[in-house]
């Protein structure tokens, strides 16, 4: 049933292209309906998912028999969680782009195609199919940023696309190598991830194949020092695209790291995990540091994403249950919270004030002019800095606990990142919404009152806050499905020689 998330999204995208011109209102509604249907399927999938039954098969038919490529969809707890995240982010993103007037139907068509690709990646258990969906997700992203973006949009879009394709090329090489080597070893050529995971690749091969694939995916996850596409890309992108970019597309990277690089090359993980942990921690602290001195509101959030994704990467290489559970939970949590932060900055603030410079925002008295935006941002900020009760706290705490047994020093350094996280978020809150300069009367704001926050924005913000709260208050709702999935991956990795 989960496969319907993919079909519905592509169907919606196709229908949108058939709509007549000047049918913006219809296009919006159709897009929202499509995303809601996807979300409904995702929620139903979560509810009906039986953690005890292990990986659930969805579809498995030959696709290109000559190359042993199959159309093989399946889902374990990790997939189900990320599919749910995608559904939530998709609906919220559409609600936050309700005001797009320029070429509305094309925008939503690209948007839904991107969503469909993302769903596809999370559900593919055939490596080649996964790669195809992965590429499908990249292309609409380029157009969305280049056509509907803002600051230096062509530059940002091109940079993002180039980084993505370099990563893809690395993944492609690793993938083909794995296909060939596995075929030589076993005499059985396949792209089936569950089969490849059991192939005992020689250590000398894993030594170079693992970092190739891991970094290839890691680029999209904002792995330091390959992260520089992220801030510029986020800033250039329109609101919905930065929400998706930070919310789900970066998760494609970490998902690939886990599902492909780590499961296929467990011995490689063991060889390289210290290096990756170091890079992850640098990303955490460095992203937070850089966020502290940004002048552009959106850059603050962009770098904060680099920092929070560092927690996911750190959790992955802990190679223990608690750390990996934390990593997957953090993917979900950051997806929700980054979406919310970008929604406030991009839609609620930038679309009204037409500036993101903190120095300009300081003079606008936004705390009074847009109280809903201010409150939402404060909630998102405290959630993002790890306030208990929201999803981020449980996730990052689990990563820290998991990291403690694997890399105690890294755990301490990551903790420093959390402290700095408080500093940059409080700085942004204060400067953007509650600045002391805001006490001065501002003529411009008095003459042109900002448009009030619309209902789609309120609902979108409410949806994301509620999701973060539910998971934060009762994390077991997701951990119950994540844990068995992680446990079986870990089991396979141990058999394959990890640790």
């Amino acid at each position: 049933m989960l496969a319907w998330t993919i079909y519905i999204s592509f169907l919606g995208a196709g229908l949108l292209t058939l709509l007549p011109r000047n049918s913006a209102a219809l296009a919006r509604r159709l897009a929202l309906l499509t995303a809601l249907a996807g979300l409904a399927v995702a929620v139903a999938g979560l509810i009906r998912f039986d953690p005890a039954a292990g990986t659930r098969m969805i579809a498995d038919v030959p696709w290109i028999p000559a190359l042993h490529i199959r159309y093989f969809l399946a889902a374990d707890g990790i997939s189900v969680t990320l599919v749910l995240l995608t559904g939530l982010a998709a609906v919220a993103g559409i609600l936050f782009s309700w005001n797009i007037e320029q070429r509305t139907k094309e925008f939503f068509a690209f948007y839904l195609a991107l969503i469909g690709g993302v769903y596809g990646v999370f559900l593919s258990f055939d490596l080649f199919l996964l790669f195809v969906f992965y590429e499908i997700a990249i292309i609409p992203k380029y157009f969305i940023i280049a056509i509907w973006g803002s600051t230096r949009r062509e530059y940002g879009a091109m940079k993002l696309a180039l980084y993505s394709f370099v990563g893809s090329a690395m993944v492609l090489i690793g993938m083909i190598a794995a296909f060939v080597v596995a075929g030589h070893l076993t005499g059985h050529y396949t792209f089936d991830l569950t089969v490849l995971a059991r192939v005992p690749f020689p250590a000398s091969f894993q030594r170079w194949a693992f970092p190739l694939v891991f970094i290839g995916f890691g680029i999209l996850a904002g792995l330091w020092p390959f992260h520089t596409w992220a801030p510029t890309g986020h800033v250039a992108a329109p609101t919905a695209a930065s929400m998706l970019l930070a919310g789900v597309v970066m998760k494609l990277g970490t998902y690939g790291c886990l599902r492909v690089a780590m499961t296929l090359f467990p011995a490689g993980v063991t060889m390289w995990r210290t290096e990756i942990a170091v890079l992850a921690v640098i990303g955490i602290v460095y992203g937070a540091m850089v966020a502290l001195v940004q002048k552009d509101f959106k850059f603050v959030i962009g770098y904060s994403s680099v920092s929070h994704m560092g927690f996911v990467l750190l959790g992955l290489v802990t190679l223990n249950q608690i750390g990996l559970d934390g990593a997957v939970l953090q993917m979900f949590s950051h997806g929700i919270l980054a979406g919310l932060l970008f929604g406030v900055v991009g839609r609620m603030v930038y679309d009204r004030t037409h500036t993101r410079e903190l120095a300009d925002l300081e003079t606008m008295n936004l705390g009074r002019a847009l109280p809903f935006a201010a409150v939402t941002f404060v909630i998102a900020a405290v959630a993002s800095m790890g306030l208990p009760g929201f999803s981020g706290f449980v996730a990052e705490l689990q990563v820290l606990v998991g990291a403690w047994s694997a890399f105690p020093k890294a755990a301490i350094a990551a903790g420093v990142g959390i402290v700095i996280g408080v500093a940059y978020l409080l700085r942004a809150v204060q400067r953007a919404f509650f600045s002391d300069m805001a006490a001065r009367p501002v003529e411009a704001a008095a003459h042109h009152p900002l448009p009030p926050i619309s209902w789609p924005e309120r609902i979108g913000a409410g949806l994301l806050i509620a999701a973060s709260l539910v998971v934060g208050l009762y994390p077991q709702v997701l951990l119950n499905v994540i844990s068995p999935g992680v446990a079986s991956l870990l089991e396979a990795m141990r058999k394959g020689g990890a640790l």
Partner: protein, 627 residues
């Protein structure tokens, strides 16, 4: 029946906070009623539990993960024992008085709804700390308390000082909490559980564990959290600035309850603090007590004087925890925490009453002669002052005496320090009384002052009662039953109770009294009927150091500028110019250069192509021949 009481006590304030936020932000009367109603009912239920003598735990599982080697199980539970029961009474009881007072104090503020929502959120979080059954749950509410404190300090966020103070409080606390969290993880990593009950059993079953070096380190780290929340040196800088919040907030959060959470937490986990950690804790507490008392004698803002006094008294409590020794009985600290909650809340509320009467003037050198204009405020303030100074038979006398007696038994140096602080306390408090309440009027403001309305004076009177009498109620013995050490048989009768300290530890009791007398005489000599502070002229540069708080804030600002800001700027530079500039642009540039060079080759001229073709063949042939 009583099983649901603890849950109601905890969640009623949260319901009030949620209800106000969602429906009643703009309705001042409704929001006040919800918030006050919740805390008063919680108080009534706490009294019922106390009278009933309920003990035990209720819990449900919150997180449960395991992978064979390690398991991570966290419950959300509520624990009722002497420690938490008495704390419940303090938080909800003092809280009720302050909630009611707030209604009068904040009546004309446009943000009343937001105020009461914050206050209720705080009450909920504080009760969570009190009732927590395990480290992680305690930490969760610990953070929530920090957030509600941030919201309330920055309540008047349009004032830059308030916004900065809120940020400073949050950040300083986060520094301490970072250590706290590491400590918690360390405890879990070594002992495999975070549950207080299980940890206590483990430590009791295996006394050698307390000597374990990792647990020793964990003790230090956990103390970091307490040092942040209870504003101990060197993390004390946020508390005086927190006075930018509304005065009832200062009374509830930054005097009576939240800042005491650190002391409470140390008593809660006292069983796992090793000897080294305890000695360290004692000295940090002693240093804080002394430094803060010194700073207090040159402050001129009525709330800041009280804030430094709070710091100093918290130092006393922390010192006592440290002095109680491994497996000892820190109930003296909890006793002082309790009496301090009464009289310090009263002092702040009295100060608030004065501030309201003087239209938000807080400089004591612009007051004077208020004792006649505001008799209720003055006399209740006086009771609280005498209690704070430790004059018998006021409550503070008994609790401070126990502290001094503990110090006398264990550490002569800290005993001397404690006595000195007692003298300083009396000195700065009577300086405040002589300047603000008696003596000549120092500006026009007090001429128009008049007594506050009943909604403000009634809570003052209500808090004056325990400030006066709490020493006779056996609170110390109740706490002591938590730590299982047999206390001496309680004296019966008022006179016997009053004379017991002098018979029990005469050195401490008479030493403390002598300090009070000396402090009072010094204050009388210097400040009786004065219109100007004579100390700066007498002490010169020393007075300036005291007034400027030994320049800790400036030092920290410089340190932060030198380290973190510089690092952040450096990181930004690296990102902008090295990674995005040199590496990425470098790759881009070299690809482009290669492209440009190769383009030169493609001339479209047939002769050039054939020349290159021949040259290529020649090179190939040469290569083959050499091989």
């Amino acid at each position: 029946m009583t099983g649901i009481f603890p849950w109601l006590i905890l969640f009623l304030p949260l319901l009030a906070a949620a209800g106000i936020t969602l429906f009643a932000l703009d309705h001042r009367a409704v929001s006040a009623r919800l918030s006050i109603g919740a805390v008063v009912i919680s108080f009534a239920l706490s009294v019922a539990l106390f009278v009933h003598g309920t003990r035990g735990e209720t819990r449900f599982n919150w997180i449960s993960l395991s992978d064979g080697a390690a398991s991570w199980i966290v419950d959300i539970g509520l624990r009722l024992d002497p420690l938490s029961l008495m704390m419940l009474l303090v938080v909800t009881g003092v809280g009720s008085a302050i909630h009611i007072y707030s209604y009068g104090y904040m009546h004309d503020d446009p943000g009343v709804g937001r105020y009461f929502a914050g206050l209720s959120l705080f009450t909920f979080s504080m009760l969570g700390i009190v009732l927590a059954t395990n480290f992680l749950m305690l930490f969760i509410f610990w953070e929530l308390v920090g957030v509600s404190s941030w919201l309330l300090i920055g309540f008047w966020f349009e004032r830059p000082a308030a916004a900065d103070a809120a940020k400073k409080a949050f950040l300083t606390n986060r520094v301490g909490d970072f250590g706290f969290l590491l400590g918690i993880i360390l405890v879990w990593a070594v002992l495999g559980t975070m549950d207080f009950g299980q940890l206590q059993k483990m430590m009791a079953a295996n006394p050698a564990l307390i000597g374990n070096s990792t647990i020793g380190i964990a003790g230090f780290l956990i103390f970091c959290g307490a040092a942040g929340k209870s504003a101990q040196f060197p993390l004390h800088v946020w508390l005086p600035d927190a006075m930018e919040g509304p005065t009832p907030v200062s009374a509830l959060i930054h005097a009576a309850t939240m800042v005491a959470a650190g002391v409470y937490m140390l008593c809660r986990v006292h069983f796992m603090l090793a000897a080294d950690a305890l000695e360290f804790i004692a000295w940090i507490g002693g240093i804080t007590a002394l430094l803060a008392a010194l700073m207090a004698i040159q402050q001129n803002d009525i709330k800041r004087i009280l804030a430094y006094s709070t710091l100093s008294q918290l130092g006393y409590m922390v010192m006592t925890v440290g002095l109680s020794g491994v497996g000892g009985n820190p109930s003296a600290a909890m006793f002082h925490l309790t009496t301090h909650a009464f009289f310090k809340a009263l002092l702040f509320l009295g100060a608030g009453s004065v501030i309201l009467a003087l239209h938000h003037e807080q400089d004591i050198w612009k007051m004077g002669g208020l004792s006649k204009k505001m008799p209720v405020t003055f006399w209740t303030f006086m009771i609280a002052t005498l209690a704070l100074c430790g004059v018998p038979p006021f409550s503070g006398f008994f609790s401070k005496d126990e502290i001094l007696a503990t110090a006398q038994r264990t550490s002569p140096a800290l005993f001397a320090l404690g006595v000195a602080v007692a003298g300083l306390t009396t000195f700065y408090m009577f300086r405040l009384i002589f300047v603000a309440f008696t003596g000549p009027v120092k500006s026009q403001l007090p001429d128009h002052a008049h007594e506050s309305p009943a909604v403000i004076t009634l809570p003052l009177v209500a808090l004056a009662v325990p400030s006066l009498l709490a020493g006779f109620w056996g609170i110390d013995r109740f706490y002591a039953s938590q730590f299982g050490t047999g206390e001496a048989e309680a004296a019966t009768g008022w006179v016997a109770q009053l004379t017991a300290p002098f018979a029990h530890a005469p050195g401490a009791a008479f030493g403390g009294l002598a300090a009070v007398v000396i402090g009072f005489l010094a204050a009388f000599a210097l400040y009786w009927n004065k219109v100007q502070d004579p100390l700066p002229a007498m002490l010169g540069v020393v007075a300036r150091w005291l007034r400027d708080r030994f320049y800790f804030d400036e030092l920290y600002a410089k340190l932060i500028a030198a380290t973190q800001d510089a690092l952040a700027t450096l990181a930004d530079f690296v990102d902008r110019w090295l990674i995005a500039g040199l590496f990425v642009k470098g790759t881009h540039g070299s690809v482009e250069l290669t492209g440009r060079l190769l383009r030169l080759v493609q001339t479209g001229n047939l002769q050039t192509y054939s020349l290159m073709f021949v040259a290529g063949v020649a090179v190939l042939l040469l290569f083959m021949l050499i091989r």
